[in-house]
């Protein structure tokens, strides 16, 4: 904000993909010498906006001006040349090449076609010195930590006389010390007059470094705010888009007495489960018939908790007791043997096997548990599949079509059926209602309530707080990859308090003893 003239202005940007309106009439301004945070949940349109800005996508409507001149880039290379550089979440560099090669790859200084290696190394050293980094530029990039690699990527980006630097979730794989180092460099670049666009899911970091915040939701602009004037709670509200008073009442289901449910031996009790770089150690108990909600923003570590409980990732330490007996959850197969089921949020990559039929997808987990030598008799298969096609209202009701031909909601139901067939004692549902229409959503919510009444324990993960509140007996709140609170879902708990907990992380109130 050293200059009152924006370096970059985007006005009335709209962008649609077949069937999806990714951006609708979004305005965005970036001033020289500021760090500007772009906030929003996944699917809010952040990455689309960045891709429009850097020329990966064309705009349908709207104009972009850079330094007051209309600009439209046909690709990232052209955007680079105009001074708009991007550093992506995953470091897009070659770890087997040297630091200097990585900085200059594709634009090496040449003499008569031959690369001037001496010049490459000299200029690389100069660039890194500007960032206060003292590295051996001939060493392979892979020999440095992820944080250093990230900074080399930044060095590569600012070499192209960058005026606008876009950092897309640069901190997601860094630890606290590395984040501090990155922020130091960001402040230095900001003071040199570079405009930095910063995308992150970490609220604390936004408040630490950003001067201004732009919030997107569902492809639309919610607003642009001074960081100092926007409390964290309001930011969360604006991102999620729920006014506190519009939440529906909690159904009778979740009113069952938590104390009564939590009598006796817990079905699953983990203590100090955690994984470096994924989620800080946490403890959690789940009883039969209990629905535990897992609330938190996307990227707060909810899925990571689920994966540890299912053995999809291994915990670094800690203990688990199942029915009070010490046990372990090291592989999915082992978790399934203990009666745990897991519906991944990533249906396509981690859920369905697209080639196989609906029937085969449904019986897969049960068959895997029995082993290939004991095939489920075809009549039994047909009975089970028929039962769940009817119970979950799966369409088309022909179990022999490849599952890839089904809509997303129906694929989700096939996955649910896959686990219900195994009759699990604990079912982990990671965003089971995301991206499916309202009818299917209600059906799945009803089903969860029914299952828990029947004695099944459910770990219910959702970004939608109303859904979590309606179904859960207990809500565990995730924030910045930590489980910051476990709240009993009694009369006093509402979305307001959950949001406060997400925003501040201070509202520690253990529902567990």
């Amino acid at each position: 904000m050293t200059d009152s003239r924006p370096v970059l202005t985007m006005t009335g940007i709209s962008k649609s993909f077949p069937g999806v309106r990714a951006l609708h009439n979004v305005n965005f301004q970036l001033f020289p010498g500021e760090v500007h945070a772009l906030m929003g949940e996944n699917g809010a349109g952040k990455s689309t906006l960045i891709k429009v800005l850097t020329g990966v996508y064309d705009t349908d409507e709207g104009t972009i001006t850079l330094d007051g001149e209309p600009a439209s880039f046909t690709g990232p290379m052209q955007a680079n040349a105009a001074g708009v550089s991007t550093v992506y979440q995953e470091v897009n560099l070659c770890t087997n090449l040297s630091v200097a090669e990585n900085i200059f790859i594709g634009r090496e200084p040449r003499l008569l076609g031959a690369v001037r290696w001496g010049e490459v190394r000299r200029r690389a050293r100069a660039l890194l010195a500007r960032l206060d980094l003292d590295l051996d530029v001939s060493a392979p990039l892979g020999s440095y930590s992820l944080a250093i690699q990230q900074m080399v990527a930044i060095a590569r980006a600012i070499d192209i006389k960058a005026r606008v630097l876009i950092l897309d979730e640069p901190t997601s794989s860094l630890d606290a010390g590395e984040v501090a180092q990155l922020f130091r460099i960001m402040r230095q670049l900001r003071d040199e007059g570079i405009a930095i666009l910063f995308v992150t899911h970490f609220l604390d970091q936004v408040y630490e470094i950003a001067d201004r915040i732009t919030v997107l939701r569902n492809g639309g602009l919610v607003g642009e705010y001074q960081t100092a004037e926007l409390p964290q709670l309001s930011l969360v509200e604006k991102m999620i888009g729920k006014e506190l008073d519009v939440l529906e009442g909690i159904e009778e289901h979740s009113r069952r007495d938590l104390a009564a449910l939590e009598e006796g031996t817990p079905l699953v009790a983990v203590s100090n489960f955690g994984r470096a770089g994924a989620v800080a150690p946490f403890s959690l108990t789940i009883h039969a018939g209990e629905v535990v909600g897992l609330a938190g923003l996307l990227g707060s570590g909810r899925t990571e908790v689920a994966r540890l409980l299912f053995g999809a990732d291994r915990t670094d330490g800690g203990q688990v007791a199942i029915d009070g007996t010490a046990s372990s959850l090291r592989t999915p197969a082992q978790a399934i043997d203990h009666g745990v089921g897991f519906c991944s949020e990533n249906r396509r990559a981690e859920g369905i096997v697209a080639d196989l039929s609906v029937r085969e997808n449904m019986i897969l987990a049960m068959q895997a548990a029995r082993g290939w030598l004991r095939p489920i008799p075809r009549r039994r298969q047909d009975e089970l599949v028929d039962k769940y096609v009817k119970a979950l209202n799966i369409r088309p009701a022909n179990p022999e079509v490849p599952v890839r031909n089904l809509s997303g909601g129906n694929q989700q139901k096939v996955l649910l059926a896959r686990w219900l067939i195994t009759e699990p004692r604990l079912l982990i549902l990671d965003e089971p209602t995301r991206g499916i229409d309202i009818g299917a959503k209600t059906e799945i919510q009803k089903l969860v309530a029914q299952l828990s009444d029947g004695g099944m324990a459910v770990l219910f993960i959702s970004a939608e707080l109303e859904e979590v509140l309606r179904l859960s007996h207990k809500v565990a709140v995730m924030r910045d990859r930590q489980m910051v609170a476990q709240l009993a879902n009694d009369d006093s708990l509402d979305a307001d308090r959950i949001m406060q907990t997400i925003a501040s992380g201070s509202h520690r109130e253990e529902a567990d003893r």
Binding site: A312, A333, A349, G351, V353, A354, D355, L364, R370, P396
Partner: protein
């Protein structure tokens, strides 16, 4: 008209239609070129004729390709099958040649058991490299492809081992029920592999692992075991093929036995409709694929195509077969042809109504 059209579509849409059509066209072309091509005669209680020869000669390839189908379905590949053929043949022939009575059935059975045992161990080696250690299949099996030839040479001490054993010779050239024994062996192997994969859940689990390894793991499948098993089955199939190849000539040549059969086998699998990316596999398609390749080889001889150009001829036909098989190519071809009628005539596949 519309009805005929849709029946035509259903027929051409069947996954076996194009491989079968190619085979039919090849046989027809041969018959036109040489009218006696399809004739079969009964001599001394045995059937003779080119079609019978094609079936007999394709038996080893069918065997190797059956195992290859399973391996490819897991998303892998087995380059070592040719070497395995040479090793199994070499062990069997070497053992028989050392015995005083080469015509004893007991000797031959012992020889087969020994060779099969070693082949299973080598298949397990491949399986461990891929499924336990996690080496890429093409590299893991390349090791045995190269080293296996050396191993076969070591067993035969660099010589071509000639044997004189009627029972062993029968594996390649014997007859049963007027037909060559090799045809029955291949048929039995096909039925066995089919039963092993389709009567158990092994086939589905292999397809699941090859189709989406991550999802399979999260469904609780211990994929290592089935991948391991696929390589062992492939080795067993290759071993039997090796017996047949060496029995055909009553001698074991560590260098030549089963040379390049892995490439023919991969080709047969792909022609049969199994994707190299893994997933769904089709044993019947693989068998038709193997028959196509053998028919092609026989055609080259029958048409007196000179040895210098025969490989080129084969290559051209294979390219044509693969193109006809490829849906993308057929779509482009038929779109061009359909320029005349209005776009409405392009009856789309009926879209499924899938309300959520």
């Amino acid at each position: 008209m519309n009805d005929t059209m849709s029946r035509y579509r259903t027929m051409t849409g069947h996954r076996l239609f194009w491989p079968a059509a190619v085979l039919f066209v090849m046989l027809a072309a041969n018959t036109i070129y040489r009218p006696g091509f399809l004739s079969i005669e009964l001599k001394d209680g045995h059937l003779y004729g080119t079609p019978i020869d094609i079936l007999r000669l394709s038996a080893p390839l069918i065997l190797v390709a059956l195992g290859m189908t399973l391996v490819i379905s897991t998303g892998g590949i087995d380059l070592s099958v040719g070497s395995l053929c040479a090793i199994s043949g070499a062990i069997a022939c070497m053992y028989i040649s050392k015995q005083p009575d080469q015509n004893s059935v007991g000797v031959v059975v012992t020889a087969l058991a020994m060779a099969m045992g070693v082949s299973l161990v080598l298949g397990a080696w491949n399986g461990v490299l891929v499924a336990v250690i996690g080496i890429q299949p093409i590299i893991a099996t390349l090791i045995l492809m190269v080293a296996g030839r050396g191993l076969a040479q070591l067993i035969t001490e660099g010589q071509i081992i000639t044997i004189n054993s009627e029972p062993y010779r029968a594996i390649g050239l014997g007859h049963a029920l007027t037909l060559p024994l090799a045809i029955f062996i291949a048929l039995a192997a096909a039925l066995l592999v089919a039963a092993f994969t389709r009567r158990t859940a092994l086939g589905m689990i292999i397809e699941s692992v090859g189709g989406n390894a991550t999802a399979s793991r999260l469904a609780g499948i211990r994929s290592g075991r089935v991948i391991f098993l696929a390589y062992v089955i492939s080795a067993a199939c290759a071993a039997v093929a090796g017996f047949m190849m060496t029995a055909n000539v009553s001698s074991a040549d560590g260098n030549a036995a089963g040379l390049w059969v892995e490439l023919d086998a991969i080709l047969a699998v792909v022609i049969g409709g199994t994707s190299l990316a893994g997933g769904r596999f089709f044993l019947s398609g693989t068998i038709i694929g193997a028959l196509i390749i053998q028919t092609l080889t026989t055609t080259v001889y029958a048409m007196d195509i000179s040895p210098q150009t025969s490989l080129l001829f084969k290559a051209v036909v294979v390219i044509a077969v693969c193109l006809i098989q490829a849906p993308a190519f057929r779509a482009r071809f038929s779109r061009r042809r359909r320029h005349a009628p209005p776009p409405a005539a392009i009856a789309d596949k009926p879209k499924e109504q899938v309300p959520a």
